[in-house]
Homo-oligomer: 265 residues x 4
Amino acid sequence: DGPFALIAGPCQAEGVSHSVEIAATMHEVCRARGIPYVFKASFDKANRTSLGGKRGLGIERGLEVLAEVRRQVGVPVLTDVHTEEQCRLAGAVADALQIPAFLCRQTDLLLAAGETGKPVNVKKGQFLAPWDMPNVAQKIASTGNRSIMLCERGSSFGYNTLVTDMRGLPQMAATGYPVIFDATHSVQQPGGLGGASGGQREFAPVLARAAAAVGVAGFFIETHPDPANAPSDGPNMIPLDQMAGLLDTLAAFDRVAKADPVVLN
Amino acid sequence: DGPFALIAGPCQAEGVSHSVEIAATMHEVCRARGIPYVFKASFDKANRTSLGGKRGLGIERGLEVLAEVRRQVGVPVLTDVHTEEQCRLAGAVADALQIPAFLCRQTDLLLAAGETGKPVNVKKGQFLAPWDMPNVAQKIASTGNRSIMLCERGSSFGYNTLVTDMRGLPQMAATGYPVIFDATHSVQQPGGLGGASGGQREFAPVLARAAAAVGVAGFFIETHPDPANAPSDGPNMIPLDQMAGLLDTLAAFDRVAKADPVVLN
Amino acid sequence: DGPFALIAGPCQAEGVSHSVEIAATMHEVCRARGIPYVFKASFDKANRTSLGGKRGLGIERGLEVLAEVRRQVGVPVLTDVHTEEQCRLAGAVADALQIPAFLCRQTDLLLAAGETGKPVNVKKGQFLAPWDMPNVAQKIASTGNRSIMLCERGSSFGYNTLVTDMRGLPQMAATGYPVIFDATHSVQQPGGLGGASGGQREFAPVLARAAAAVGVAGFFIETHPDPANAPSDGPNMIPLDQMAGLLDTLAAFDRVAKADPVVLN
Amino acid sequence: DGPFALIAGPCQAEGVSHSVEIAATMHEVCRARGIPYVFKASFDKANRTSLGGKRGLGIERGLEVLAEVRRQVGVPVLTDVHTEEQCRLAGAVADALQIPAFLCRQTDLLLAAGETGKPVNVKKGQFLAPWDMPNVAQKIASTGNRSIMLCERGSSFGYNTLVTDMRGLPQMAATGYPVIFDATHSVQQPGGLGGASGGQREFAPVLARAAAAVGVAGFFIETHPDPANAPSDGPNMIPLDQMAGLLDTLAAFDRVAKADPVVLN
C-alpha cells in the first residue's frame, strides 16, 4: 500500500492562471511526497445557500480551465456534475467526476456518471448513514463502471452543524470501494452565516489526521491561495501555503495506519 | 381564514384508473369538508434508496395520468420535478410543481420551477434549518413567481431517523409564504429497511394533529387504497379509507388554531 | 376525561411572598378553568450551567416556602430532588416529587423517591429515547409506588439545542402512566449563553399547543411575574400574566384531543 | 511529552482476584510500554438501564477490592462516585475519582470530588458541547483542586446512538486541562438492547486511533478477560488479551501526534 491519493483545488475554478497556479503548486508538493494528485475545481456551484452566491464560470468556460490545467500541469482533473447532460460534457474532458452530497441519491445522475466510464467520487449525503452507501454505489456499479470512490463529508448534527462519525470510514470501506475523506466540507457550518455557509478551517486538519489514523484511500481538501477572498467556501478552505505541512502530517499518520490497518471483526 | 388545503395522492402514479380512484375519493371527501384539494402523484421516483426500487411511469405517461385525473375528476394536480427540462414539461400540464427535499438547494431547478409561473411547493431539506428556507424561497421569488409554499418534512436526527421540530412551522411562516406540513414523509425512516426506506404510518396522524394545532396553511399526505402493495412509501402512506377520519380530526384542530393563531413575539 | 392538570411555578422558590403570589394567581386562574393545579418551585438548582448561577434557598428554607404556599393558598406543591436524603425531607412536606432529567437514570434516587409514596414526576433525559422510559418507570414502580408521571422536555439535537419529538408523547403514554409535557424546558438552549442556558420563551406556547393536540395528561410550565429578573431560566419562563391566555388556548386544543384521542394501531 | 496515560479496568469490580488479574496484566503491559497506568473499577453501577441490571459490590466491598489492587499490584486506582458521601469514602481509598457523564452538571458532587484533593476525571455529558466543559471544570477548580481531567465519551446522536466529534478534543484541551478519550463508552448504544445498553466493541479501536492522532493526554478503556460474561458493558469492553496490541497501535499514533501537535489558530 502506497500513500493516500489527494484530490485538491479551489472550490470554484476562477480562471486559467489561478487554477494552474494551484494545480502546479499541489503537483509539486505531492510529487515530492509520492502522493498521487488530482486537481479539483467546480465550474458551477449549483446549490449555493443564497441566490447571490457566485455560481462560477459555467460549464463551457470551466471545462476549458480544467483542460488547460491538464495540459499545462499534466495532472488529472476532477469536477462535480449536477445533471446527466453535465456528465456527458464533463466526462469528455475530466479524468474523474464527482457527485455532490445533496445529489447522491439521484439515480439518473449516478447512472449517467457511471456511464462515462470515468472514476466517480460520490459524496455521502449529510442525511445518510454509512451503511446506506452500498445502495448508492450499486447504482453506479450497475453501469459496469466499478471505479467508484465513497466520500465522507459529515452528517447533519442539529442545525447548521455537521459531525464526522469516524466509524463510517471502515463501514464504507467494507464495500470494497476506496474511501475518501473530505476534510474541508466536513467542517462547513451549512447556512451558518445566514446567506452563506460558514466553516471552521482550523478543524479541517484535526479531522483529517483522525481520518488518516483510521485509514483512508485518499483525501479531498479544498485549498486556495487567498481563502478570505475566495468566491465560495472561504471559511473552510486551507491556505495553499499550508498544504505541504498538512500533507506531511497526514502522511506520517497514514504510514502508521497502513502498517496496522483497522480490521472490523 | 378558511380551512387548510390538502395535497394528497399516491406516492407514485400507477395508472389512470388507480389515480382517478384516489383523486375522486379525495375530491369527494374534501368537498364535503370545504377543504381545497390538490391531487398529487409522482411520475418518477428519482431518488429511490436502491436501484431496484420501482421508478414509476416516466414523465410522458405520468403526465398523461395527471391530465386524465384533472379532466375526469376536475381537481388541480401537482407533481414533483427533478430537472429543468421536467419543469417545462410538467409545468405545461400540472397546476403546481413540487421540489423534492434533497433538491431544495439546486438553484437552476428552483429557477426553472419558478419560471413556469405555477405554484411551487418546496420541501425543506432534511439537512436544513427552518431559517435557511428564506434563501430557498428567494431563489424562486427572483423569477417573479411568488406562489411559493414551504413544506416541512422532518430533519435528520441521527441515522435512519427524522424528527419534526414544530418550531419550524411558525419560523417558516414568518417568510409570509404558506407553510405545508408533509405528514407522511415526516415519519419516514430513510434507508431504515436496508434496500428501502421504512416508515411509521401510525405516527403520521400524531404529527399532523400537532402541526394543525401550531397552524399550517395545508397538509401534504400520501394515501393509497392498499399501502402494503404500493410500489414505494407503503410503510408511511395513510390507507385511503382512513383519510376522511383523519381530515375531520385535523379540521377540528385547525378551527381552534385559526381562531387563536400563534404569534411569535 | 377532564382537562389536563398543570404543574406551574417559578424555576426557583425566591421567598414566601413571591411564591404565594404566583401560587395564588395560578390557583385562581386554574380554578376558573377546572384545571387541577400543583404549585412547583425548586429549593436548589443543583446543576446550574456555571458555578456562579444562583443555587436557590436551600432545602430547609425552600421546604418552608413550599409549606407556606400549601397552607396559605391551599394547593398541592411539587419540588425536585437530587439525593436520597432530599427525597425523605422533601417527601415529608411536598405533595409530589420530581426527578430532574439528568438524574433520571440514577437508580437509588428513583427508588428513594418511590419509597416516599408520593407521586413522582420523572423528566425524560435529553439523552434518552421515549422507549427507554419504561425502564425508568419500572425502577420507581418496584417500590410499590405507581403514582408515576413521565415528562417530556426535549432531546439533544446537535449542540446547545433541544428538539421535541411529539411521537414520544403517545409512546410514553403506552406505559399506562400519565404523560406531562414540560413546555418551558423544551425550549431551553442548554449552555447556549456560555455561562448560562438560553431559551426561546416564544416557542413554549407553540410546542405546548402541539402537545395538547397530541394529547397529554398535564403540562409543566415555569412562570414568573418578571422573568427578565428571575435568578434562573428567565429566557424560557412564561410571564405570569400570560398564563391565563395560554391555558385557554391549551384547553381548547385539549378538549378536541380528549374527544378524539390518538390511537396507535 | 511522554506517552499517554491509561485508565483501564473492568466496568464493575467483580472481586479481588478478578480485579487483581486485570490490574496485574495491564500493569505489566503498560510498564513494558512506558505507559502510566491507573486501574479503574466501579463499585456501584448507579444508573443501569433497567432495575434488573447488576449493580456491583457496593461501596464498602468495592473499595476493599480497590485497596487490594493497590496493595497487591502497586498501581493507582480510580473509581466513579455518585454522591457527596461517596466522594469522602472513595477519596480516602482511591487515587483518583471520576464523575459519570450524567452527573457532570451536579454542582455539589463536583465540589465534593474537588474537595478530596484527588485528581478528578469528569466525563463530558452526552448532552453537552465541548465548550460547555470549562464551566464544569470551574466548579471543581473552585475548591482549589486543579487536578482535573476532561473526558470525551460521545454525544447524543438521534436515539440510542452516540457520535464522537473529534473537534471536541482540542476544544476541551484549550482549557489547559488534560483530555482523556473514553474509547469504550463512546461506542455504547445507550438503551439499544431494550433492558440494557448495547455496544460496538469493534469500533472502540477505530475511535481510539482517531483520538490518538488528534492528540490526547490519556485513554480510558474498559477491559475484561471475558466480556461476554461481564455483568455490565460486555458489548463494548475490549478483551483483556487484545489490550497490548491496541496500546501498541495507539502508541504509534501518539508518537506522531505528540511530535506534531494540533494547533488551533
